[in-house]
């Protein structure tokens, strides 16, 4: 019984975190028409930065500052590579692939120069164990999930309630028309990319204390899973990403009770892949 409760709790927590990543990918696709393969690397950057900043800024300070910094990096990257020169979709995808390799390798080189090691164990300063029968659940995870949900809610508010959100939707639906009515299209697109990468970095900063380890390659599997979630949710659709993120998380965590974690992840990926087989445009995508 306790095991069930713990598994469901874990599924909820990870569902929100996956949603944070997939929604970032999905918004970026909506505004720029690019599948951002650098998303995992930016997630890793967020985790590493917040790990590096924690001694000076305290953990919570770092969780706020790291995503902002990474978001600025994303803004600059988008401006330089994707917006100043119009790219066709596959070319843009290859560019983000190049960015991913560079960021990952820069992180590797910097870590090796400064600390001499690549993997760093992270001992969380905040844990807040919650007693559940004979077991304990890490309260930090619940707090992280609450923060992530608040950010997602805020994003939804921005998306549907502000002038900026309105411009983003206009750019997504018809870029030429958006330009004609006076929306600063390039600026909007770059800011969406920055925001999406900031979401990835926030996920990285929050996940660090859960996985207890940061390393330059931590973003690769994360990237593949969140890309699948975003595509199966329908690229450009926030609701679809959200639903599929929870579906994936529940599938993975429930399967973990049956088999080893690697097979559980493979099974959950297959299950989400089935959505694409039935609906190639994704759950919330329009054909």
């Amino acid at each position: 019984m306790e095991l069930w409760a713990l598994t469901l709790l874990n599924a909820l927590v990870w569902g929100v975190l996956w949603a944070l990543l997939a929604v970032g990918l999905s918004v970026i696709y909506g505004a720029l028409g690019v599948l951002n393969l650098a998303h995992g690397a930016l997630y890793m950057l967020g985790a590493l930065l917040s790990w590096a900043l924690t001694p000076t800024l305290s953990f919570w300070g770092a969780v706020v500052v790291a995503p902002v910094l990474v978001g600025l990096v994303g803004f600059g990257l988008a401006w330089l590579l994707l917006i100043k020169h119009e790219q066709d979709p596959l070319t843009a995808l290859l560019m983000t692939f190049g960015v991913m390799l560079i960021l990952q390798q820069l992180a590797t080189i910097l870590l090796q120069m400064t600390t001499g090691e690549l993997r760093h164990a992270l001992s969380p300063s905040v844990r807040w164990p919650i007693a559940m029968g004979t077991r304990f659940y890490e309260g930090y995870r619940v707090v992280a999930a609450v923060i992530a949900s608040a950010v997602l809610l805020g994003l939804w508010g921005l998306w549907s309630g502000t002038r900026w959100g309105c411009s983003v939707r206009a750019v997504r639906d018809n870029r030429k028309l958006a330009r004609i009515v006076g929306i600063p299209v390039s600026w909007v697109r770059a800011s969406v990319f920055g925001l999406g990468t900031a979401l990835a970095a926030l996920a990285g900063a929050l996940v660090g204390p859960i996985t207890r380890e940061v390393s330059p390659t931590m973003g690769i599997e994360i990237l593949l899973v969140s890309v699948l979630i975003a595509v199966a949710g329908g690229l450009g659709s926030l609701g679809g990403s959200l639903v599929v993120a929870f579906l994936y998380s529940f599938a993975e965590n429930l399967l973990t009770m049956l088999t080893d974690p690697m097979l559980a992840r493979a099974g959950a990926l297959l299950a989400i892949g089935l959505i694409l087989l039935v609906r190639p445009q994704g759950l919330g995508g329009s054909s």
């Binding site: 020169h85 596959l90 190049g98 390799l101 990952q104 690229l235 097979l263 493979a266």
Partner: protein, 316 residues
């Protein structure tokens, strides 16, 4: 002129192990990874399907050969055949699903397939050897009554060369045939190709399976000449993650020229030279350079295409 150049290259490849022994290993790597780049070029360059998970079929070819040797004590040719069969079946199953999606959907399915296969290979480490890999004893190569041991470098060299020539022949024939035209028609305009009566799904699936078999051939030859397989072969982006990075076929294709017959080979040669140079000076710089290379290649290819379009528009 072209024929003479091809003949000279061919003859020098045939005599290389006897004239310049120290380059043999390098050239062998070029042949195996060049075949891999050839396979990707068939898929991306001719049919327009960008696969980031082509390593899966390489790995299936390698494991097929290794399993045939370990569990069935197969001889050399059966082992290679088993590798090809594994790659063929895998490519058919994945292609059946993935080629329905085009563009991003296809890229994502190929990537996620690689992750799923990698996770399964890691978890089934009793038969795959897991992260550490698994050595096996390659069977002797029997050809026209001769029994050759693949432990000899020159045997491995000619094996790789033979595989590459077979691959080159297949890609050449396909690119000159009606089928090659159909590949390109599907790449350039899917809707127009469908309107002309081409079955886009079948053409893509065929291209995917053929590319998978070529990758499987490269994998089988690689496994037999190394006498070693490891689960990391399946890993998505695995080429950049190990301490001894494998050359990435996609970058070779971009470097050598997308959709050209010999382009991927030239690109792979360039990459291997770069790797040799960098690994001795600054090993970490290799992946960094690869990232920068992708950016530069993609950027300038696009820029030159833009320039060409502008000239066309102005002159018309």
């Amino acid at each position: 002129m072209k024929r003479w150049a091809a003949l000279i290259v061919f003859v020098s490849a045939m005599v290389l192990p006897w004239l310049w022994g120290s380059a043999t290993l390098w050239a062998m790597n070029l042949f195996i990874w060049g075949l891999m780049a050839l396979s990707l070029n068939l898929l991306y360059g001719y049919t327009g399907l960008l696969s980031l998970g082509q390593g899966v079929y390489f790995a299936l070819g390698a494991y097929g050969a290794a399993w045939a040797v370990i569990y069935a004590h197969a001889n050399f040719w059966v082992a290679v055949g088993a590798g090809l069969l594994c790659a063929l079946v895998g490519a058919f199953l994945v292609g059946w699903v993935s080629v329905r999606a085009s563009g991003f959907g296809f890229v994502v399915v190929t990537l996620v397939t690689a992750l799923i296969c990698y996770l399964i290979a890691l978890s089934a480490d009793s038969i795959t050897g897991g992260e550490d890999g698994m050595p096996f004893r390659a069977p002797a190569l029997t050809l026209l009554g001769l029994v050759l041991s693949v432990r000899d470098l020159w045997v491995r060299y000619y094996l790789a060369l033979g595989a590459l020539l077979a691959g080159l022949g297949i890609v050449y024939l396909v690119s000159k045939s009606l089928l090659g035209l159909a590949f390109r028609a599907v790449r350039d305009d899917e809707i127009a190709a469908a309107a002309l009566g081409y079955d886009v799904f079948k053409i893509r699936l065929f291209s995917f399976v053929l590319a998978g078999v070529l990758a499987g051939l490269a994998g089988a030859v690689w496994a037999i000449s190394k006498e070693f397989v490891r689960a990391g072969l399946f890993q998505p982006f695995g080429a950049f993650l190990s301490a001894q990075p494998d050359p990435d076929p996609l970058i070779a294709v971009l470097l050598g020229g997308v959709g050209r017959l010999l382009g991927p080979l030239v690109g792979m040669g360039g990459l291997l030279v770069l790797r040799e140079l960098l690994v001795s000076i600054w090993p970490q710089g290799y992946a960094l350079l690869m990232g920068a290379l992708i950016l530069a290649l993609v950027f300038f290819r696009n820029a030159s295409r833009c320039a060409a379009a502008r000239v066309l528009i102005l002159s018309s």
